[in-house]
């Protein structure tokens, strides 16, 4: 059996806001196998970024982790102290590329300085080899003219370049697991294709595990081995990429794939599913998808469906499956 690098169990996260508690995650369950690319998809606001940030314990101040476990190997990340997270986990075990590349680089430091922080901590190279390592990190993500680029400041770079610098910086940490939150959004299509090639290379050469958050089903089909589909703070379905397109079971997954196929490849088309994303302050009772589900039955509005195994590597949360 393949080794499981990350296992999230019954994860619950809420945010305190003036309008009340936002139940952003309500029992998220997923497993990421070592050496695989694992996609995490769902409409905007369903909790993808919150899931990623919770793994690194880098949530906003008003967040509360209400329950659950995040197993990384045999460590429960939620039980570690902040110091242990800092020393043992962040960077050298798990790194994260955040959704907004524009604000993820410090405007007052050069690219070189910011990558060097990673290189100096994790590479074990003598100081005089650092420059070379920074150069290689930038070249790995196919940034042109890296020798010059590293002396620039973030504001002198385009959005796409910043995104690639971010990736280079996080890879320079040499993590086992990389959480990539929509890393291709700021890239134009041709660079996206190039970038996906870069990731594929990394996958083959570094045995990197990636939790890949995206709206883009095309990227999922090109890169990912497994997929978790989220809806309103819960997992609707965990399945293989093949099943996602050939054998989706959850009504939401089905809608998602079919509203997209043949029309456009991005998940913006999701909004075409009738009804809107529920607000998470007062989420619908029972199955959170029931107001929009055409297959809903009486129990759906009363009880939340548990995730159950349909087949190996395929779990679904729906009363009708």
């Amino acid at each position: 059996m393949e080794e499981i690098i990350l296992k999230i169990e019954d994860l619950k996260v809420a945010f305190d806001t003036e309008e009340g508690d936002v139940e952003a995650l309500d029992g998220v369950e997923l497993e990421v196998k070592k050496g695989t690319f694992h996609g995490l998809i769902g409409e905007t606001g369903c909790g993808k970024s919150v899931t990623g940030k919770t793994v690194l314990r880098l949530l906003d101040n008003n967040a509360r982790i209400k329950g659950g476990r995040i197993h990384y190997g045999n460590i429960d990340l939620l039980k570690l102290t902040e110091k242990q997270m800092e020393k043992q986990i962040r960077g050298n075990e798990i790194a994260m590329i955040f959704q907004d590349p524009g604000s993820s680089l410090n405007p007052l430091f050069t690219i070189k300085y910011q990558i060097e922080e990673a290189v100096s901590m994790y590479s074990n190279l003598p100081r005089n080899k650092w420059n070379q390592a920074i150069l290689e990190a930038l070249q790995r993500v196919k940034l042109p003219d890296a020798a010059n680029l590293m002396h620039r400041y973030p504001h002198q770079l385009s959005g796409g370049m910043k995104q690639r610098v971010m990736i280079a910086m996080m890879l320079a940490c040499q993590p086992q697991l990389l959480i990539a939150d929509e890393p291709t959004t700021a890239l134009d299509v041709s660079i996206q294709a190039q970038f996906i090639k870069v990731l594929r290379d990394l996958k083959e050469n570094l045995n990197l595990t990636v939790l890949y958050i995206t709206h883009d089903l095309a990227v999922i089909s090109e890169l990912c081995d497994y997929v978790s589909v989220m809806y309103a703070g819960r997992i609707a379905e965990n399945l293989t990429t093949r099943d996602l397109f050939k054998n989706p079971q959850h009504p939401y997954t089905d809608k998602l794939v079919h509203s997209v196929l043949g029309v456009t490849t991005t998940l913006e088309a999701l909004e075409e599913i009738p009804g809107s994303v529920p607000r998470l302050i007062n989420p619908p009772a029972g199955c959170r998808f029931h107001p929009r589900c055409q297959e809903a039955i009486a129990i759906c509005s009363k009880e939340a469906p548990p995730l159950q195994e349909l087949a190996p590597n395929h779990t679904v949360a729906c009363h009708r499956r």
């Binding site: 940030k53 690194l56 880098l58 906003d60 101040n61 902040e82 800092e86 020393k87 986990i89 962040r90 960077g91 050298n92 790194a95 994260m96 955040f98 907004d100 524009g102 604000s103 993820s104 680089l105 410090n106 405007p107 007052l108 430091f109 910011q114 922080e117 990673a118 901590m121 994790y122 400041y153 504001h155 002198q156 971010m166 910086m169 996080m170 940490c173």
Partner: protein, 312 residues
């Protein structure tokens, strides 16, 4: 636009400010009630004597001529002669400027370090008792008038506890109290913005990104965040400088240091206008230069200012 271009432009922009400053300094005294010559000569002066003295100091000319003459002299480093002491103004100032400078700088140092440290801790422990304590103590010090605080401190630490000398400038221990009075009074001006700016910056994406790399939190705050709050803090520093100088003038008088403060106060009372004008002008120019320096420091801290200087 290169960096030198930015510097030159910034320098050129201070010229009108400096002219304005000289104009205001010059006019202030001429519109203050009280004729210096009459005060000098006493109540029994004859018209004749008054006229002679007025001529001697150029006070019989129209105002604009007086201004131009005065400005011309100042440009040659000639600040005039004190009416009261009958000595060159610059000489009087030179004797005392060191004392005032020391008090201003040590007061600034205390207020900036204390304010920054408290502000950072308040931000890191937002809404904790430490945070509230910081707010409370800042409000406390800032709401007491400076001279009053100086007197209370003198009474407690000088008279009762005898930890420090009661007055005069007699070595390091005598500097502590006056500097502390200024430091405490000004500290709130740095603690509050430091807290607010820090809270803002700590929410930035690049802070999370640095932490995601595994950079130690102390380094994230001390390097990544601190550098980003430096610009508003330096602005505040330049903004508060005149107030700190004003504060040290008052405090220094209370502590009987005989610096520029006492000289200024006595000269105002005696309508010794060349001295008052000279001191005001020196202080004003210092403030203008400090702002200029602050602007130049911004461009060292923030690369975006260096490049966009031309557009701003």
């Amino acid at each position: 636009m290169g960096k030198s271009g930015y510097v030159v432009r910034r320098l050129l922009r201070t010229i009108p400010i400096v002219i304005g400053v000289t104009l205001v300094t010059f006019l202030i005294l001429h519109f203050t009630p009280g004729d210096p010559v009459r005060i000098m000569l006493g109540p029994y002066a004859t018209q004749e004597n008054i006229a002679i003295l007025k001529e001697q100091y150029g006070l019989d000319h129209p105002l604009h001529i007086q201004y131009i003459t005065w400005l011309g002299n100042i440009l040659q480093g000639e600040f005039g002669t004190s009416i009261r002491y009958n000595r060159p103004v610059l000489e009087l100032v030179q004797d005392r400027v060191g004392i005032t400078l020391m008090l201003t700088l040590s007061g600034l140092f205390i207020s900036v370090t204390l304010g920054s440290v408290l502000g950072i801790f308040a931000a890191l422990r937002q809404n904790s008792w430490l945070d509230y304590l910081c707010t409370f103590q800042a409000m406390f010090w800032i709401s007491i008038p400076g001279f009053w605080l100086a007197i209370i401190f003198l009474y407690i630490f000088g008279l009762q506890l005898r930890w420090v000398p009661i007055g005069g400038l007699t070595g390091f221990s005598s500097v502590i109290l006056p500097a502390l009075v200024i430091g405490l009074q000004e500290e709130a001006w740095f603690a509050r913005p430091m807290r607010a700016e820090m809270l803002g910056v700590l929410n930035e994406g690049y802070i999370s990104a640095a932490r995601a790399k595994g950079v130690k939190y102390i380094r994230v705050v001390g390097i990544h965040a601190l550098r980003n709050v430096m610009i508003p803090m330096i602005t505040m520093l330049a903004l508060r400088l005149p107030w700190v100088i004003a504060g040290s003038v008052v405090v220094e008088v209370v502590f009987a240091w005989g610096g520029m403060g006492s000289l200024l106060v006595n000269s105002v009372l005696a309508r010794d206008f060349p001295v008052v004008q000279g001191i005001l002008l020196i202080i004003a120019i210092t403030v203008v230069l400090a702002n200029l320096l602050a602007d130049l420091v911004y461009s060292l801290i923030d690369p975006r200012i260096r490049v966009e200087g031309g557009k701003k």
